[in-house]
């Protein structure tokens, strides 16, 4: 009953990358402009969902062989590790550190340990939303 969806699939191939790039942008820009791990994660998910709509779950699984439950766990661990790393330096739990560095290619850039925490948030959001959608989608 599947109709010809060449247009959808072709458009998806282009749009998916745009969305992903936008998601990455929103994630990294979060500290200075609106955005952050949560919205970034949700946008990433929407890109993958678009793939799922245009193709099907099996195909997407082949393209992105990711175990989203593991991804959630890694995200949680990363967040927790960032938060507790401060203990090693004998400062209270959840103390962040940042500084400015001159990186090649990027120039003067600020690196902030909060970014690692946000990355944890990002991974959890993607992992959980994908877990939910995938589980419900596969259910008969």
């Amino acid at each position: 009953m599947r109709t010809n969806d060449v247009m959808l699939q072709t458009a998806t191939k282009v749009v998916t990358f745009i969305i992903l790039m936008f998601a990455v942008h929103i994630f990294f820009a979060g500290h200075y402009t609106p955005g952050g791990g949560f919205v970034g994660g949700l946008l990433t998910t929407s890109a993958i969902v678009l793939l799922m709509l245009a193709f099907d779950i099996e195909t997407v699984k082949k393209i992105l062989p990711i175990n989203y439950v593991t991804m959630t766990a890694i995200g949680l661990l990363l967040a927790l590790a960032t938060a507790s790393a401060s203990i090693i330096f004998d400062v209270p739990f959840f103390t962040h550190a940042y500084d400015y560095f001159d990186l090649p290619l990027f120039g003067k850039t600020s690196l902030h340990s909060a970014m690692l925490f946000d990355a944890g948030v990002y991974l959890v959001v993607v992992g959980v939303t994908m877990t939910i959608i995938q589980t419900i989608g596969e259910d008969e």
Partner: protein
């Protein structure tokens, strides 16, 4: 020697009973038990010289020092008298039980453990000077008596009787605890000895009457006073040694002990005197009146115990009159306290022997039904003699101890008519009249008990077993007790000097300083006084009525069973059971909607009530921002779509309208300059609408019927109420902002200290990252939950519901 530890000796001995029962099964366990009360009795008897001279002994053992709770054993005349009763009659009862209970068929280890537990509890009650430990032992008697009454736990009646006595005495015990706490608050001490000197100040305290009534409730329930006596007849399902010990000589006297012990604290009050004397006397009449209705030997004795306890109680109440007269030694008011203690000893002695005889009759004939018994006189001569002595003493005939106490009882009651406080001069005449009536009935039931059992014609065909005299071992205790009954008559002044006067001294410490000052000399022949004529009247009328008993005893059966106190108790128990059940079924409907209505109603009630009571309601429009055009437009969209959800006919419309609400909210976020929120809200709304649609798609066909939500007025009312409440709270809180916002701090430090520009995100990951950490944990848990719900379906069968 710190004799406070002696209280616990029976309890310690109880630990070894099961061992002895298993190891030395061939020897009756009772022989080992017997040692305990005998040793204790001997030891306590050696303390007699101290109390006879008016002295006392104190021994203390700290239990919870930080809370000022200690075991304090205080030995004075009163507590030593009770202690000797407990250990002495305890020894006799144990001896009797050795022959009464069969060592092969009965669970003796249980019996003696309970009995020893009870002994410790009773010793603790009568020796405790500390209110809290007194209460501890008080409840221990309730518990051990519960266990003893239910000793034959396979019988329904035993379990019923045990539960009934437990319910009533524990109710009283808890009331008493309340009274004790009030007392300790008033006097700032738990010690009775320290409370007594404060009596004059305590009586003016607001709590005084409360404490008085609560303590009396405890004493009345334990001592089976009207209307709480109903547990005692049902407690007769216990083995007879238990009835003889607990329900005649010791436990039922715990209430009397408490009243006597606290008399110096409360007796100043007229309420105390009226309550104690009045209830006691009424109980005395009531118990003796209904004793004649009983067909069961132990039933008669139970009602007789109730009656005699009432007698003692009324005397204790009358003794309070002594506090209000000068120079008590010259008045007749001095007799009441003496008579109370004297009769208490008498009663313990003769009632113990009577119970043992009832047990012997039951044991040797197989029945306690007085209608089947008769003519046992020639078959059981010794039991008959003992029963006769006990009953005649109970009836108040010479030459038995009961005669003396009955005379003094009448003297004390007559003296009340001369008392001119608390409107006694008006109503006081009732006391001797009721006392005389009660004594007449006491006379009749005493004869009824003896002669309907032992005289008349023998009916061997109605008896389950051929009747014969009891073995000698079983007779030792009752014979010994009946000897005491006679001995007390001949040496009343020795008993008076040794036991009664020291006890009266403890009861009336304001009136006497040493036992020698109590100038009462008991004489069997005391001249032609009014009380002697009253006794003659009792004997004459009583004898006439006993002679014609068969003719009028049937009139008792005319009294309907539905109007008795037992029926009241049963219906209260039934109602509290089914009533509570019905009540919880009334509101525990099992429907979530009902519970939500309760919760929301309470939210409205509590929040609006608080707003109203604290006068917190205020509306202040001065600080509000101007309303713009876009806000109005979005608001209309928002309200419109919300109303659409409420009135939509199809669920699909509802879901779409919900989406519209969510997007309008996102627009609000845009207008109110919250870009992060707007972004997140948009995406989340999309996902949740998709999930709603998914749920809608999988609805079962039956419930997909398109139907408008039914209108319920109650629901509408609650919903509007909640809306109004929340609105009012929001307006009020907005109008009365107490503190400036903390957000200035974030604005100033977001770049300098946190190295960021987006305040929202910096708050989320830096300032308050802790929250975020757990929010992503919540997300993770939700994901895992969905996986488990969908993937882990262990049973496919839908009819396997856990509640079925």
């Amino acid at each position: 020697m710190s004799f406070v530890f002696l209280i616990f000796v029976p309890l310690l001995a109880a630990l070894f009973i099961p061992l002895l029962f298993k190891k030395f099964g061939r020897i009756h366990t009772g022989w080992f038990v017997l040692v305990v009360p005998v040793i204790l009795f001997t030891y306590y008897a050696s303390l007699l010289p101290t109390t006879i001279s008016g002295g006392n002994l104190v021994s203390e053992f700290q239990w919870i020092p930080s809370l000022d709770i200690a075991f304090v054993a205080y030995i004075d005349g009163l507590s030593l008298l009770f202690t000797l009763l407990i250990t002495g009659i305890g020894a006799l009862v144990v001896l009797y039980s050795i022959f009464y209970l069969d060592k092969h068929r009965e669970q003796l280890h249980n019996f003696y453990v309970y009995l020893l537990m009870f002994m410790t509890a009773m010793l603790g009650i009568v020796q405790s000077d500390h209110l809290i430990t007194l209460y501890l032992f008080w409840e221990l008697t309730s518990i051990s008596s519960f266990l003893l009454i239910g000793y034959w736990y396979t019988r329904d009646r035993s379990r019923f009787g045990a539960l009934k006595s437990m319910m009533i005495t524990v109710f009283g015990g808890l009331m008493m605890l309340g009274g004790f706490v009030l007392l300790s608050i008033m006097g700032d001490t738990y010690s009775i000895r320290e409370l007594i000197p404060q009596a004059a100040e305590l009586v003016t305290h607001d709590f005084f009457i409360w404490a008085l009534v609560l303590v009396l409730l405890g004493a009345f329930t334990k001592s089976a006073q009207f209307p709480f006596y109903i547990w005692l007849p049902d407690a007769m399902e216990a083995p007879t040694p238990v009835s003889a010990y607990l329900h005649s000589a010791t436990m039922v006297k715990a209430g009397l002990y408490l009243v006597a012990r606290l008399t110096p604290v409360f007796a100043i009050s007229g309420t105390w005197m009226w309550l104690v004397a009045g209830v006691g006397l009424f109980t005395m009449f009531w118990g003796s009146f209904f004793a004649l209705k009983q067909k069961d030997l132990k039933g008669i004795l139970a009602f007789s115990t109730v009656s005699q306890l009432g007698l003692i109680m009324s005397l204790l109440g009358a003794s309070a009159a002594g506090y209000h007269v000068d120079n008590i030694a010259e008045t007749t008011f001095k007799y009441a306290g003496f008579a109370a203690i004297f009769h208490l000893i008498n009663h313990a002695v003769f009632k113990g022997s009577l119970f043992m005889i009832a047990g012997i009759v039951d044991h040797e004939t197989g029945t306690r039904d007085i209608r089947k018994l008769g003519g046992l006189m020639s078959l059981m001569p010794i039991s008959f003699t003992v029963a006769m002595i006990g009953a005649f003493s109970m009836a108040g005939l010479p030459p038995f101890g009961g005669f003396l106490s009955k005379e003094m009882f009448l003297t004390a009651m007559l003296s009340l008519t001369e008392f001119d406080l608390f409107s006694m001069d008006v109503w006081g005449i009732l006391f001797p009249v009721v006392a005389w009536l009660g004594s007449v009935f006491t006379f009749i039931y005493s004869f009824y008990f003896v002669f309907h059992t032992f005289a008349g014609e023998h009916k061997p065909e109605q008896l389950p077993k051929p009747a014969h005299e009891a073995p000698i071992g079983m007779l030792i205790s009752p014979v010994f007790l009946s000897l005491l009954v006679v001995v007390i008559f001949f040496i009343p002044n020795l008993v008076g000097d040794w036991l009664v006067k020291p006890a009266v001294l403890a009861m009336q410490p304001f009136l006497y300083t040493s036992p020698d000052e109590i100038n009462i000399h008991v004489e069997a022949w005391h001249g032609p006084t009014p009380e002697l004529f009253m006794t003659l009247g009792i004997v004459a009328i009583g004898f006439l009525m006993f002679w014609t008993l068969r003719k009028w005893q049937k009139s008792y059966d005319l009294f309907p069973d539905t109007l008795t106190l037992n029926a009241l108790y049963d219906s209260v128990m039934f109602m509290s059971d089914t009533g509570a059940n019905r009540f919880s079924r009334l509101y525990m409907t099992g429907f979530i909607r009902s519970y939500l209505v309760y919760m929301f109603s309470f939210v409205i009630f509590i929040v609006l009530g608080t707003l109203f009571l604290t006068d917190a309601f205020a509306i202040d429009f001065t600080n509000l921002a101007p309303v713009g055009f876009y806000e109005v437009v979005i608001l209309i969209a928002l309200v419109g779509s919300t109303l659409t959800i409420l009135f939509s006919k199809s669920r699909l419309t509802g879901i779409i309208a919900l989406g519209a609400v969510g997007y309008s909210v996102a627009l609000f976020f845009v207008i109110f300059r919250a870009p992060d929120l707007a972004l997140t809200q948009l995406v989340i709304e999309t996902i949740s609408v998709a999930l709603f649609l998914l749920a809608f798609y999988h609805l079962p066909q039956i419930s997909r019927k398109e139907e408008r939500m039914r209108f319920r007025f109650g629901n509408a009312l609650v919903a509007i109420g909640v809306g109004v409440t929340v609105t009012l709270v929001a307006l009020s809180s907005l109008s009365q902002k107490a503190l400036p916002s903390i957000s200035e701090f974030y604005k100033e430090t977001v770049y300098k200290e946190a190295g960021g520009g987006n305040i929202v995100n910096v708050i989320l990951v830096d300032y308050r990252g802790f929250d975020t950490l757990f929010e992503i944990a919540v997300l993770g848990i939700a994901g895992i939950g969905i996986i488990t719900m969908i993937k882990l379906r262990l049973t496919k069968k839908e009819d396997q519901h856990e509640n079925k």
